[in-house]
């Protein structure tokens, strides 16, 4: 009946104690992440041993023992010297521009600025006017870059203009003929054809106009300039070709499909080196006498054909991701094949494959270094070329040059791969809902 007497009841909270030192902060983190089991502890020890083996000599060589200033090999040939950064410093201009003449290098810089001015707004999703930016990048920038880098003033003979005019008249006549035969009002197709030729004529007029720039032959180009020119021209030229091939591979027309499949599988099946050999050795044989492409242009043709096969597979991936309903909707709206592709399918498909395109570009960017094998001096080529400079010959020169080139390539590729991952996440979010 009596209420049992409780000896002790705590009425206030016990003071809070700090968590054990071994569970929080740096020590806790180390325990949880590095030594939470015997196996893990062994792995950690192995990891530390690997780092201890690799890091100190590397840091020593790169920074502590490195030679930063100097005017020749004497500075770098010292016993126990590390990287010869003085070599990179002295040759930096060559590494960037090759033998591009000194007073004209502002043209290369300006081209680079024009490129950045287009790329930055194109790459940031929030900036408006995407269509205009892409148009600038694909049409205005290549023409401006061509004029700035080569000096423009392309020598187009009178017969070229006559030929273009004849082509235009012929095309217009054929258009009229087809329209008559098919019973269509010929006015609007005629306008399209005429506009195409007008645009072509305008482009040729601009590149053949004398802007008073000193012409610089492509033999003088080199370094990072050539690397970027080959990579960018390769990707821009391969883009339309890749889209056409991807459409061809999915086409219902057997001949078109067969041609596309053979083309794609052929280029994907052979190494880029053989393609470059082909374009440098075989291409001149295929051209009529008197037509002569310079070395850079030949390499560009090879690279563009090679890249277009890879691009086609990327675009095909995007096309396959578009549900059939989209095609049927385009048909139901009464759009023609090309209208449906251009307005409904491609905008969706290309948006999906932006990461794939960036990855193709990274691959191409790295592959541009192969042009040194056919005697063009890209960044890697010009760095290796400078090893034979007697003024800088030292045991550490090759390693230093390679580390510098690797650093430049790495910055570009790593940056682009981060961007690709960012786009992938962004696109994925929209689809995951």
């Amino acid at each position: 009946m009596t209420v049992s007497k409780i000896a002790y009841v705590r009425t206030d909270e016990a003071p809070r104690m700090a968590p054990p030192v071994s569970e929080t902060g740096a020590i806790g983190w180390i325990r949880q992440n590095l030594f939470d089991s015997v196996g893990n502890a062994i792995m950690t020890v192995i990891g530390i041993a690997m780092l201890a083996l690799i890091l100190p000599p590397t840091i020593n060589w790169l920074f502590i023992d490195a030679v930063w200033t100097g005017t020749g090999r004497d500075a770098c040939i010292v016993e126990g010297a590390g990287a010869c950064w003085a070599f990179v410093h002295a040759k930096f201009g060559q590494f960037m521009y090759g033998r591009y003449p000194d007073p004209e290098r502002w043209r290369v810089d300006l081209t680079g600025l024009l490129l950045i001015a287009g790329l930055v707004p194109a790459a940031i999703p929030r900036v408006p006017f995407k269509r205009e930016t892409v148009l600038y990048l694909l049409v205005v920038f290549p023409i401006a870059g061509f004029i700035l880098l080569t000096g423009g003033n392309l020598d187009l003979s009178g017969s070229f203009w006559i030929g273009l005019a004849i082509m235009a008249v012929l095309s217009l006549a054929i258009t009229v003929l087809i329209c008559r035969n098919a019973g269509i009002e010929p006015l609007s197709p005629l306008k399209v054809v005429a506009a195409i030729y007008a645009a072509l004529a305008l482009v040729f007029a601009v590149v053949s106009y004398d802007f008073g720039l000193r012409p610089v032959e492509t033999q003088l180009w080199g370094g990072l300039l050539v690397t970027l020119v080959v990579a960018i021209v390769g990707i821009v030229a391969s883009f339309p070709l890749g889209i056409l091939l991807a459409l061809g591979r999915r086409s219902k027309l057997p001949a078109v499909k067969l041609v596309s499949v053979i083309f794609i599988e052929f280029w994907r099946g052979v190494p880029l080196i053989t393609v470059l050999f082909m374009s440098s050795v075989m291409l001149p044989l295929f051209l009529p006498d008197g037509v002569n492409f310079d070395k850079l242009l030949r390499a560009l043709i090879g690279v563009a054909l090679f890249a277009s096969a890879y691009m086609a597979e990327v675009v095909r991936g995007g096309l396959q991701a578009i549900p059939k309903g989209q095609y049927e909707a385009a048909d139901a709206m009464g759009l023609s094949f090309w209208q449906g592709i251009g307005l409904i399918i491609m905008p969706q498909a290309l948006k999906l494959v932006i990461p794939g395109i960036v990855n193709t570009f990274i691959g191409l960017f790295k592959d541009t270094s192969l042009v040194l094998i056919i005697g063009l001096f890209d960044l890697l080529g010009i760095v290796s070329l400078n090893f034979s400079d007697a003024n800088w010959a030292s045991p550490n020169t090759p390693a230093t040059g390679f580390v510098f080139a690797a650093f430049v390539f790495w910055i570009f590729c790593f940056g682009m791969s981060r961007y690709s991952i960012y786009m992938e996440r962004r696109l994925h979010r929209g689809h995951a809902r």
């Binding site: 590095l34 219902k252 190494p271 053989t274 006498d289 390693a399 390539f409």
Partner: protein
């Protein structure tokens, strides 16, 4: 529109009254004819130009050059070759060298790639970071640069033969290459090879029998362990029974260079190192993606069935991850094979360096040489992808 023209249109179309221009069949045929005609025209134009240009340069055409004397030396060949051999022999030597470096490279890259890929998913922070940096560093630097780095900046600055490094007794490393002791088989040593072959055949048979028995009775048999034991044990047994009929001939320093032994030339080492390390970075990413692609629910389901973590990995995760891994792994193998053509930059005598390099320069028959080279790589690609497709179809999900 007059009635005559509309009648014409009806004839041209399929009778539906629309113009032929709107008939998809007609358009398809016309378009295809145009494409094919354009391509054939271009081919004919190229062939015509090539014929004229070759005639003007006085270069013979055809494959007759293959049986002529090559007249140059090759620094590494798996089959007997002298400079008196034919161009075809040189082609064969180059092809074998390509296959050698590609096949060894594929094995190393796969093993290393799986290790790094799994390490990237490790719980251990340090291991994970090392693996991540390995992948990010090697993947974003051109392979050619890595090859040149290994060749010119690492292997070329090794000491001369007199000051050779000797990591293991009898193995020497210097700027002429890696010198290994030669294995010389005495009479009776072929028994070891036969034992090895028999062991491989037996372990294949055992694993088949074990699978069949498991499907019928559910009882398991440690076929992997037994098979490994056989493959190691039988040749060892044969080696001991026949009285150890194998000698090691060590290389000896004579004058300025080594005599005897097996020399692995530095070009081969640089190429193998570069190819394997570079491709391993890509394979690591594929392995990681493959393992991540198996949803966590699979692990939980396995645990709820009472499987231990190791059995879960072995029976649930890996078989499903392999399905995701194999197709991109194939393309990495192909890439490695194609990338082995970069050998030309460091002077390893592979197919491209020997055939599309030296032979092309000597004969000038660019068209034939380049086409043959391309066809070889194309065939290798098709064979590899054919094999991997077959393997993939065996591993693929069998839906009932």
């Amino acid at each position: 529109m007059t009635s005559a023209s509309s009648a014409e249109r009806e004839q041209a179309g399929d009778g539906s009254g629309t113009s032929w221009f709107y008939n998809p069949r007609v358009r398809g045929v016309v378009f295809q004819v145009l494409v094919v005609a354009f391509l054939l025209g271009m081919l004919a134009f190229f062939a015509y130009n090539a014929k004229i240009n070759l005639e003007r340069a006085g270069i013979a055409s055809g494959l007759g050059f293959l049986s002529e004397r090559a007249g140059f030396d090759i620094s590494q060949s798996l089959v007997p070759y002298t400079n008196d051999s034919t161009y075809f022999r040189a082609f064969y030597v180059g092809l074998l060298n390509t296959l050698l470096v590609a096949s060894i490279g594929i094995v190393i890259a796969t093993v290393l790639g799986f290790i790094v890929g799994i390490a990237r998913l490790s719980k251990n922070f340090l291991i994970r970071q090392i693996a991540t940096w390995y992948v990010e560093l090697l993947r974003n630097i051109p392979l050619l640069l890595q090859l040149l780095f290994w060749y010119k900046a690492v292997l070329s600055v090794l000491p001369s033969p007199r000051q050779s490094l000797e990591p293991v007794s009898g193995v020497y490393l210097n700027n002429r290459g890696l010198i290994l002791p030669e294995v010389i088989g005495q009479p009776g040593s072929s028994a070891i090879l036969w034992a090895l072959l028999a062991a491989i055949a037996a372990s294949i048979g055992i694993s088949r029998w074990a699978r069949k028995r498991q499907q019928e009775t559910g009882r398991q048999f440690p076929s992997l362990l037994v098979g490994l034991g056989l493959i190691v044990g039988l040749p060892l047994l044969a080696f001991l029974v026949t009285g150890m009929p194998v000698d090691l001939a060590y290389a000896e320093l004579a004058g300025f260079n080594f005599r005897g032994g097996v020399v692995v030339i530095p070009e081969f080492m640089a190429l193998l190192l570069g190819l394997a390390l570079y491709t391993a970075a890509f394979i690591a990413e594929i392995v990681r993606a493959g393992i991540l692609a198996v949803s966590h629910g699979q692990t939980e389901a396995a645990y709820s069935l009472g499987l231990r973590p190791r059995r879960t990995l072995q029976l649930v995760i890996i078989p499903q991850a392999m399905r995701v891994i194999i197709p991109p792994l194939t393309s990495q193998f192909l890439n490695l094979t194609k990338n082995s053509s970069l050998a030309v930059a460091i002077g390893y005598p592979d197919l491209v360096a020997v055939f599309a390099g030296t032979v092309l320069n000597q004969t000038g028959q660019a068209v034939e040489v380049i086409i043959i080279t391309m066809l070889v790589y194309l065939t290798l690609s098709l064979l590899t992808s054919g094999f991997m497709n077959w393997y993939n179809s065996r591993m693929a999900l069998v839906e009932r």
